[in-house]
């Protein structure tokens, strides 16, 4: 107040100060958190995007690897929250786009020229990789991403609880329903398939003997077996024997660790945390088979590194990706086995990973090899979202599975037409 009425303050200087402050504020806002670490260090500046892994030490590890690289200054954006895709995709359209990012192989990224062809750096070591991981990243003979980790997803169960309820490990969906009923007590729910059941949307298809889309890029999921599976899961959903609205979703080990359920769908990444909490009272099994044509399945998800083809530093980014994810085998093994468990996509590294050699991790590797289904690069996010609606409408809502699948077909066909003409 006194400053305002003091005539030492000329109007002009106040205005100037205010304008200066406003300008500074605007600049600061523009500067934002674009992850570029200013001009310190030598060589080029690169930015990489990672989604926030849940396991302790992962962020530090990624930053440690990046710091060890001498040819460029690599900054990491560690993106928390559940909408990594949205943040990644919207930033890719801007000047602040990352040079390097992790994601899953998706045809649309290739068709739109968003991801760079990495064939020249992968080809020399191509035979090292799990052939399925090469196939899922290949379009017209070119390889567009480097697989960092393979993440099989399957059911975990508490051995002691199954023994106590005299339940065998389920191999068919009917058996899973029965087991869930027998395992449910006043404190513990029989099974947990994630809060919205979409975590198992691909395994339902595979376990019913169907596929997402076939080799000719036509819909292959719309079968009687899948319809049967959807009906059975609706039964399970309404039975009161599944855990719903848990504080953490399927990708977090807490529900099983805290004794909220006896069986939980999860990823291999959760294994170390579960073993620590439950010791030997832990087993795993694939998604049970559905119907007469079905067979058990495991979803081999995972994460891959991509280079932004529209960025300013494509060559430098490729050099960095090659250095870390092709040459630095120690880091690759550390990344795959020191935090959560993941299967290294490169066979020599997987063969040398002692932590995955025995006990439950070895069983996980066996499920991955024997029952695993990999991503199909052409089954893109739009189609997956359309199928997630099928899950919502026919499992969580009492909708007719046939009608839900018909609606899904329509959306998927539009997308297939966009991709393949």
């Amino acid at each position: 107040m006194s400053a305002m009425s003091n005539s030492n303050w000329s109007r002009r200087s106040i205005f100037r100060a205010a304008a200066g402050m406003a300008a500074a504020g605007t600049l600061a806002a523009c500067g934002g958190n674009n992850g570029r670490g200013g001009s310190s260090g030598s060589g080029k500046n690169l930015v990489q995007y990672f989604h926030a892994y849940g396991e302790a030490g992962t962020e530090q590890a990624i930053k440690r690897y990046a710091k060890a690289y001498t040819k460029a200054n690599v900054t990491t954006n560690w993106i928390t929250g559940n909408n990594f895709e949205a943040k990644l995709f919207s930033s890719l359209l801007t000047k602040q786009a990352p040079d390097v990012f992790e994601f899953h192989p998706q045809l649309q990224l290739v068709k739109s020229g968003q991801v760079a062809d990495l064939s020249d750096i992968i080809d020399p070591v191509k035979d090292d990789f799990n052939p399925a991981d090469i196939k899922s990243h290949t379009v017209d003979g070119k390889i567009y991403g480097i697989r960092m980790i393979d993440d099989p997803q399957f059911f975990y169960y508490r051995k002691s609880m199954l023994e106590k309820a005299k339940v065998e490990v389920p191999t068919t969906l009917d058996e899973l329903l029965e087991a869930a009923a027998k395992l449910t007590t006043s404190k513990v729910k029989g099974a947990y398939l994630g809060n919205d059941f979409t975590a198992v949307q691909n395994p339902i298809i595979w376990s019913a003997g169907a596929d997402t889309i076939d080799a000719n890029n036509q819909i292959a999921y719309h079968t009687d077996g899948v319809v049967e599976g959807l009906k059975k899961l609706r039964q399970l959903f309404t039975s009161g024997h599944v855990l719903l609205d848990a504080p953490t979703d399927f990708w977090d080990p807490s529900s099983l660790n805290q004794g909220l359920c006896a069986i939980q769908w999860g990823g291999m990444w959760s294994m170390p945390a579960m073993q620590q909490a439950l010791g030997d009272d832990l087993g795993i099994f694939p998604f049970p088979s559905i119907g007469s044509k079905g067979k058990q399945s495991v979803y081999n998800g995972g994460w891959s590194m991509f280079v932004n083809a529209k960025g300013d530093n494509v060559e430098a980014a490729k050099a960095y990706v090659k250095w870390l994810w092709i040459d630095q085998k120690k880091y690759q093994e550390d990344w795959a086995t020191s935090y959560g468990f993941h299967i290294p996509p490169r066979t020599p590294i997987a063969a040398g990973a002692t932590k995955l050699k025995s006990g439950l991790p070895a069983e996980g590797v066996k499920l991955f090899t024997d029952y695993g289904h990999f991503d199909n690069i052409a089954y893109d996010q739009t189609m997956q979202t359309a199928f997630a609606d099928v899950i919502a409408n026919s499992i969580r809502k009492n909708g007719n599975p046939e009608a839900a699948l018909d609606a899904c077909d329509k959306k998927v066909n539009v997308e297939l037409k966009k991709l393949f003409g």
Binding site: A22, S90, T198, F237, T238, L244, D245, A392
Partner: protein, 322 residues
């Protein structure tokens, strides 16, 4: 209140300095002053509002997937797609149901709170603050509290614990859409956050009603309570009520945060228009064309509804029409 103070100070300063420097007062050039004061705001408005609106209309006629600078003109295909082959029309229905419920409920609750607080003889400031405080909470933070601790589906969630005392089984409020318990979660959250703010508006309006009106009514034999409320308080609150309803409607149109965090995008129910557009444009399908087409449709709808509401409730008309 704060605006009047600042204006007073500003005028004083202007008066003082123009006396000391009479040759070129700022007052002399009205046009320059107009642009000086509105300019920065206008520039911001153009860059952050008008350009995006225009851009989005332009995008809506192009095949704009994974790009905001598309080149392939496709006419009305995006509009056709968003209206026939998507969940966008359903979301408009969802929103209408939501607005039809939340607007009158919030209106009534905030008016009720204002009447109660207005009646208080002591601790009025305390209760006013208590009811107003939730306004300061972010929707996202509140949504997480509602979802993970109050309406969590596990046996130790707050609601399930309370129900457990009466022997009621655990309820999955959010996972299971039938019966639609999720509306309870969303509506209670929105009421909790919003009611306090509109209560303050009503409270201010209540305190502006001249006491003579009530005295005169009493002399004329009107009974205290319902009669005075119906024939004096309510008509006197008409301007505020209209403003509150309009603000509530706009807020309901913008509903996103709590739906996004509580229901999520993996459901097919309780998806607001903005969520559908978010999924189309910013989700993993990145179809800015279809998203923009939906945004244009939504903007047109908002315009129509606002105009219609203005017509019906007389918002923006002169004082005499009250």
């Amino acid at each position: 209140m704060s605006t009047t103070t600042t204006r007073g100070v500003a005028e004083a300063t202007v008066a003082e300095t123009s006396k000391s420097r009479p040759r070129r007062g700022l007052r002399s050039n009205a046009t320059l002053n107009f642009w000086l004061f509105t300019g920065p705001f206008l520039i911001g408005l153009v860059i952050f509002v008008f350009v995006p609106i225009g851009w989005s209309i332009w995008l809506s006629f192009f095949d704009a997937r994974y790009t905001v600078t598309p080149s392939h003109f496709i006419g009305f295909d995006n509009y056709k797609q968003i209206l026939t082959n998507s969940n966008f029309p359903d979301s408009l229905l969802t929103f209408t149901v939501f607005a039809a419920f939340i607007v009158p409920t919030t209106w009534a609750l905030s008016l009720g709170l204002a009447l109660l607080v207005n009646q208080l003889r002591f601790m009025r400031a305390f209760f006013r603050s208590v009811f107003f405080l939730p306004t300061a909470v972010s929707y996202v933070a509140a949504a997480l509290i509602w979802k993970m601790s109050i309406f969590s589906g596990v046996r130790f969630g707050l609601m399930n614990t309370v129900l457990g005392w009466f022997g009621v089984d655990n309820i999955a409020y959010l996972a299971n859409p039938s019966p639609p318990w999720y509306w309870l979660v969303i509506v209670s959250l929105r009421l909790w956050i919003q009611a306090g703010f509109y209560m303050i508006l009503f409270l201010a309006a209540l305190q502006n009603i001249p006491a003579e009106l009530y005295e005169a009514a009493e002399i004329d034999g009107a009974k205290r309570g319902w009669q005075t409320f119906r024939y004096i308080t309510l008509p006197q609150l008409r301007a505020t009520s209209t403003a509150v309803v309009l603000l509530l409607l706009v807020a309901a149109y913008q509903a996103f945060d709590e739906f996004f965090n509580i229901i999520g995008t993996k459901a097919t129910w309780a998806q607001t228009p903005l969520m559908e557009l978010y999924k189309a444009a910013l989700g993993t399908s990145q179809d800015y064309g279809a998203g923009s087409a939906g945004a244009v449709i939504l903007s047109l709808l908002i315009c129509i509804v606002t105009l219609a509401q203005g017509r019906i409730m007389g918002f923006g008309r002169g004082e005499e029409s009250k």
